[in-house]
Amino acid sequence: MNVIESTALGKRYRRKWALRDCTLDIPGGHIVALVGPNGAGKTTLLTMAVGLTKPTEGGVTVLGGVPAGSPDALEGIAFVAQDAPLYRNLPVADMLRVARCLNRCWDQRRADDRLERLGIPPRQKVGELSGGQKAQLALTIALARRPGLLVLDEPLAALDPVARDDFMTSVVEAAREDDISVVLSSHVLAELERVATYLIVLVRGQVQVAGSVKDLLASHGAGLEEIALRHLRAGVPTTSGTDTAR
């Protein structure tokens, strides 16, 4: 089953195309790294897949053929947007209750256990949490929804190295425990190399390479980063070095 499947997908904001003619299949059962330089259309692709915005052209389905943005799709996908937006003025416990009240499927014990393990006090305001704690809270909420697919957009961008490592460990553990598919985007592959089992390199909305990490490593005989870099260079002929950390 493909957790995300797009056909000739395109999105135009005013006069500028953010994504054009993007056809790709993201298979389930993986931790998928969606890698590409800034402006490759990663966020645009993901926001359409989670139903936040509608395509200008083409189509996208999720969870094996469910139209993106439909009630079934919303219920089956947990999405954590970049910078993990949550209500800063609410205490953590109330933030959880907000999420519980917006989702039929909700595992409160799971959320409570995770927060306790992470040492996040329920009475603390969300706005007072550290960047790492906030990302972990967003992940906790996403996992308590018991989704079939977890979508994380640039989850590591705002985190320090220790928090990044902790966060990725949490994602891998959760994916294994819950047996869910994960799609995460980043413009820095190094962060995802350790955990990704499937790699998609996207440049200007076009898939440069897609395949399971095991197969890619076997066929290319090179490190994952080198494979990706080679394809990123190929996809961006005029400039080099666009794929740098912000």
């Binding site: 089953m1 957790v3 904001y13 298979p27 389930g28 059962g29 993986h30 931790i31 926001t47 989670v50 139903g51 936040l52 915005t53 509608k54 969870l63 094996g64 469910v66 009630p71 079934d72 799709a73 919303l74 219920e75 089956g76 996908i77 947990a78 999405f79 947007a81 910078d83 937006p85 949550l86 209500y87 800063r88 003025n89 609410l90 109330d94 209750r97 907000v98 999420a99 519980r100 009240c101 917006l102 989702n103 039929r104 499927c105 967003a138 929804r145 018991r146 989704p147 079939g148 697919l149 994916a175 294994r176 819950d178 047996d179 869910i180 598919s181 089992t197």
Partner: protein, 346 residues
């Protein structure tokens, strides 16, 4: 991870939508600050109105108890009551009486509406939390309806109930005939108008907030549109809810209703302009100290005075007409905001 199963995919059968009670809790929790703010503002006003209403009603009781009513002493008492509590005939802002206070109350509906309505959606869009709210299982349409409609209902109910205080506060002046219920500053606070204008300000602020994605511009635009429309309604729209009654004479004071316009007819039935009247009436009469000299001169020379009025008996009819169209406009604005949310992308 080698397994390809996704056992947590959504159940295909009998998927019911989230109950309104749950989503409503989210709305109320997020509006807690606004609800406290509204309570404090209305609470402070209520305390003032209660104190003043008690004082005014007691003072007016002394006026009505005075016998005989025609005695100089009683006339003086009534006049003192009026000038002390209603306010002088100078600028409304100089007097400090109920006239001033009611004028200031003009801004209360728009303050409440802007304060509650403007941040509703704009803050979600501004801070990016809509990316959380709109990707939950409840779906964004239900979320939008709850977020927009629940505060509207609460705000309308609270301000509607609050109107009872205004009635009490105004009672002596209305009973005295000093003030017509149709006087714009009274009309706006009595009946259903206070709640309806608050609802309208709220809906406009919520809509502009959704449109602009920013709280402050939404507040500014709402304030300007509200003030223009409220003043325009009182001066240009409200007088035409029903054709005014034309009657002879220039009646004013208790029970005369709301005078829309007045004019003078020549003995041949021709209507005179203000300039013609000024040319006609001798300066000595126009400048006379006696207030009746002008009218007496006109009558004795065969001229007749006319006026068109909205009788006091039409008060509730006009209240319901105004409340009705404000309700329709507010509902359209809220529907417009929901429509914008549904089609808005990330």
């Amino acid at each position: 991870m080698t397994t390809g199963t996704t056992n947590a995919s959504p159940p295909a059968t009998a998927r019911r939508p989230m109950p309104w009670r749950s989503i409503g809790w989210v709305t109320l929790r997020q509006r807690r600050g606004a609800m406290i703010g509204v309570s404090v503002l209305l609470g402070v006003i209520a305390i003032y109105l209660v104190i003043m209403a008690i004082i005014q009603n007691n003072a007016y009781a002394a006026v009505t108890a005075c016998h005989p009513a025609a005695a100089v002493k009683c006339q003086q008492l009534a006049q003192d009551f009026s000038s002390t509590y209603w306010g002088g005939h100078d600028s409304a802002l100089q007097s400090g009486g109920a006239q001033t206070v009611s004028s200031l109350m003009f801004v209360v509906p728009v303050l409440l509406g802007v304060f509650v309505g403007a941040p509703l959606i704009s803050r979600e869009l501004d801070t990016g939390t809509f990316r959380f709210a709109w990707t939950q299982g409840a779906g964004r349409t239900r979320w939008a309806l709850s977020t927009l409609v629940l505060p509207a209902v609460l705000l309308t109910a609270v301000t509607g109930a609050f109107t009872a205080l205004f009635w009490w506060y105004f009672r002596p002046f209305l009973a005295d005939g000093q003030v017509s219920e149709f006087l714009p500053l009274a009309f706006a606070l009595l009946g259903v108008a206070f709640a309806a204008w608050t609802l309208f300000a709220y809906a406009l602020a919520a809509f502009t907030g959704t449109l602009f994605r920013r709280t402050v511009p939404a507040m500014a635009v709402t304030l300007i549109v509200y003030i223009v429309l409220a003043i325009g309604t009182a001066t240009a729209i409200r007088p035409h809810y029903e054709a005014p009654v034309t009657e002879p004479g220039w009646n004013q004071g208790a029970g005369a209703g709301w005078v829309i316009s007045s004019w003078i007819k020549a003995p041949n039935g021709q209507q005179l302009s203000q300039a013609a009247v000024n040319r006609l009436v001798p300066a000595s009469v126009q400048n006379s100290q006696s207030p009746d000299a002008f009218n007496n001169w006109l009558t004795s020379h065969g001229y007749t005075m006319w006026q068109s009025v909205q009788p006091d008996s039409r008060f509730w009819q006009f209240q319901l007409i105004e409340g009705g169209w404000l309700l329709v406009v507010s509902a359209l604005l809220i529907a417009g905001a929901v429509w914008l949310i549904r089609r808005r992308g990330a």
